[in-house]
Symmetry: C2
Subunit: 377 residues, 2 copies
Amino acid sequence: MKKESMGMQQVIRTKGGVGEESHARNSIPQAGYYPLCFTTLSSMSMPLLEQAVLDLCCTTLPESVAIADLGCSSGPNTFCAVSEIMTIIYKRCCQLGRSPPTFWVFLNDLPGNDFNSVFKSLPAFHERMRVKNGEEFGPCHVAAVPASFYHKLVPPRTLQFVHSACSLQWLSQVPPELLNKQISNKGKIYLSKSSSPPLIDAYAAQFQRDFSLFLRLRVEEIVPGGRMVLTFKARRTPDPVPAESYLSRDQLAQALQELVSEGLIAEEKLDSYNVPYYEPYTEDIVTEIEKEGSFGIKGLEIMALPWDSLNGGQNYDRPTSAQKLAKAIRAVHEPMLASHFGAEVMNPLFKRPMEIIAADTREVEHVAVLVSTTRKT
Amino acid sequence: MKKESMGMQQVIRTKGGVGEESHARNSIPQAGYYPLCFTTLSSMSMPLLEQAVLDLCCTTLPESVAIADLGCSSGPNTFCAVSEIMTIIYKRCCQLGRSPPTFWVFLNDLPGNDFNSVFKSLPAFHERMRVKNGEEFGPCHVAAVPASFYHKLVPPRTLQFVHSACSLQWLSQVPPELLNKQISNKGKIYLSKSSSPPLIDAYAAQFQRDFSLFLRLRVEEIVPGGRMVLTFKARRTPDPVPAESYLSRDQLAQALQELVSEGLIAEEKLDSYNVPYYEPYTEDIVTEIEKEGSFGIKGLEIMALPWDSLNGGQNYDRPTSAQKLAKAIRAVHEPMLASHFGAEVMNPLFKRPMEIIAADTREVEHVAVLVSTTRKT
């Protein structure tokens, strides 16, 4: 990874703590995933995740099972996936009359993630696991790996199971053609309907490089026969700029343009800001996995959620739904935006997306792709 | 470990952040160790540490070398020992014309340690290592293990080198005889000249149980032939209560007694507070290592530092030295004291030790023991 991208790497994180604007408060408890993936995604993806874990249990489980969650974030969702994975393994072992393993959990996120909050919640996590599974559950040991998942994370052949939810759409860096100003993206912060083909290609190529690197790194770390289940924010269409992919970033760009027109931020500052993000088409994901060659695809699912799925099934008016969505956007984007534009413009900036979303009549779904793989032996 | 001790386990930590009273500000940069061990301890202990690392390099080093620092704390000293260990290995490999290994660093401390600060300092740490050793150094991957070192920390046979500086005098809990009020320690918070033999025995027995458990846990985690270098605050005399061991805790107890007499804290509150701490006699350490049997002792050193060694060689008047010592005491003890007595009495409390230390004419040395061991094959 080039050095110029490290600055951005440091700030791709959701907002820590438990304050009004933190990720912890703006993702729904027990949602299992990233705020823009919402509650229902967790239950929708569960069958494929469960099957992957049960498949692993069919093999000779070692005495120690190591599980990594990549892009664990901080908040009530941090332990959701690993809790589920460990519970399924534990119950299956009990059913089969086998000794349940010792669990080693590796929680990974960028160094800027609020790991202090995660560690503070460890006693409550262990208590929940005991309540859920009984006193015999465990032992379960937790370590943190504060690094980009585009780097090595654990020693070779350490992991039996890797999980990552709605993190792999984050790139290691903004495409170099944008960083070196070979391509411009004036007034925007991501792909949009007006994006030029070179811009679209630059984003697609960055995703390919990153995901290919991700796979090569994980091949070393996962034991043969190990499982990897990944959820991406993604596209179900080959169209590189469907509204489902770019809308919320377009709305954020609109809010930034308003700040430019009011003189609160400089135009060049906006022009030099781009999000290191890409929602791949399902086929892009499959192609990279097949090209790398060490993982077999065991299942793939596309999940679509209503635009207002943060409501958790409640029927709210558009302004209320827009407010919830705008808060989730703030929780995800604020650290990166504050690092580039300055913390002082965050409040004026984040007053706007709610109104912009409320005034927009489009109701595009949020789409995610879940892919379940096995590390070939 | 008994459940009643977990509350205390959560709060044995030095004060995080970089504020006026934090451990980071009250330990001397590059000191290498815990604030009460001071700058010079690092350089004094270096020959034994260096020899242990060089001995390791005489064996067939694997491609990956995993190093754990137990009780790493947060602040400028966190990376000191691991930096030294990696640099010695790297330079030795270069001298011998061997490929330097990939490094895996496991930083361990209790979950309440300020790991966010540690992770924020990672880019600066990597940069320092590059400046010190050249661009070819590394790669070096860092993980955190937020747990008591009286628990399992890493999977079996993971570690080549274990280091722990001035942490093992912290017990897993206050001796049970004090917790269940079988023995009283009225007006005191640790052993003192007036301690009853049962109280002294209770502390000694708790240390034996804890250190014996520590050794049994590490035997599993360290590969045969691996090295372990431990520094303890300790005694160089069989007398269980030399002033060098109890004085600063006695001075802190005196400050607490003053708050009791002023009605700021309840007498029972002081009577139920004891420090989970024990400075073992050199022989106690050797006995436990020999009793466990899996580690061979390669070297043992006793280090004594002047009472005002926090001055870093400067000659200050007694009040100035007392102030520095009082600040170091606050950095170490405040989290535990605040958890028991309430944060609101911390400022009134910590006004006093400086005056008490300044008025005391005793100048007892700080003593530490360094023991270097090999995991037998």
